[in-house]
Symmetry: C2
Subunit: 105 residues, 2 copies
Amino acid sequence: MIKVSVMYPNKDGARFDHAYYRDTHMPLVKARMGDACLYYTVDRGLAGGAPGTPPTYVGMCHIFSDSVESFQAGFGPHAKEILADIANYTDLTPVMQISEIVVGH
Amino acid sequence: MIKVSVMYPNKDGARFDHAYYRDTHMPLVKARMGDACLYYTVDRGLAGGAPGTPPTYVGMCHIFSDSVESFQAGFGPHAKEILADIANYTDLTPVMQISEIVVGH
């Protein structure tokens, strides 16, 4: 299994609507991807590792798929619609990473 | 619930022993933290978001706890031993982040 992490770097003054992200954007991703998205998780950054420091990422999602090919097959046809929705909750540009699940839950 | 993510930035020539991390280091963390670590997951970076790009992080773990206080109570007394083990699998310095679980699995 793999996961695709979409991570929004924390920047002073940036806009990020956590409620829209949770209630509208991520359900849209799941609806469009169908079973190609086995499930997803969403995080809200609270703090960095040292006391009193800000988080590196203000928000993250992780989309779990059977394989990179499965993710691409599910996401690709809807990429334009999904990416166009980003402006509705943030002006940040996310960092993406694909990881192999070594130990899952 | 919160999660503490420990993320190792991907650098050319850096050392990272994924087998040791999975088989020795993370079980040590769980053994020392006990129930303060509800569970953990481990990722291995495969690629970045664009085709052919490297992952931002070569490896990550995510430690799930009931609260920041619970994590600190479980980790703090064993921090010295756990941190001393890092040199056994990598010469990288990790980035840490504490996140609130908005949508879990």
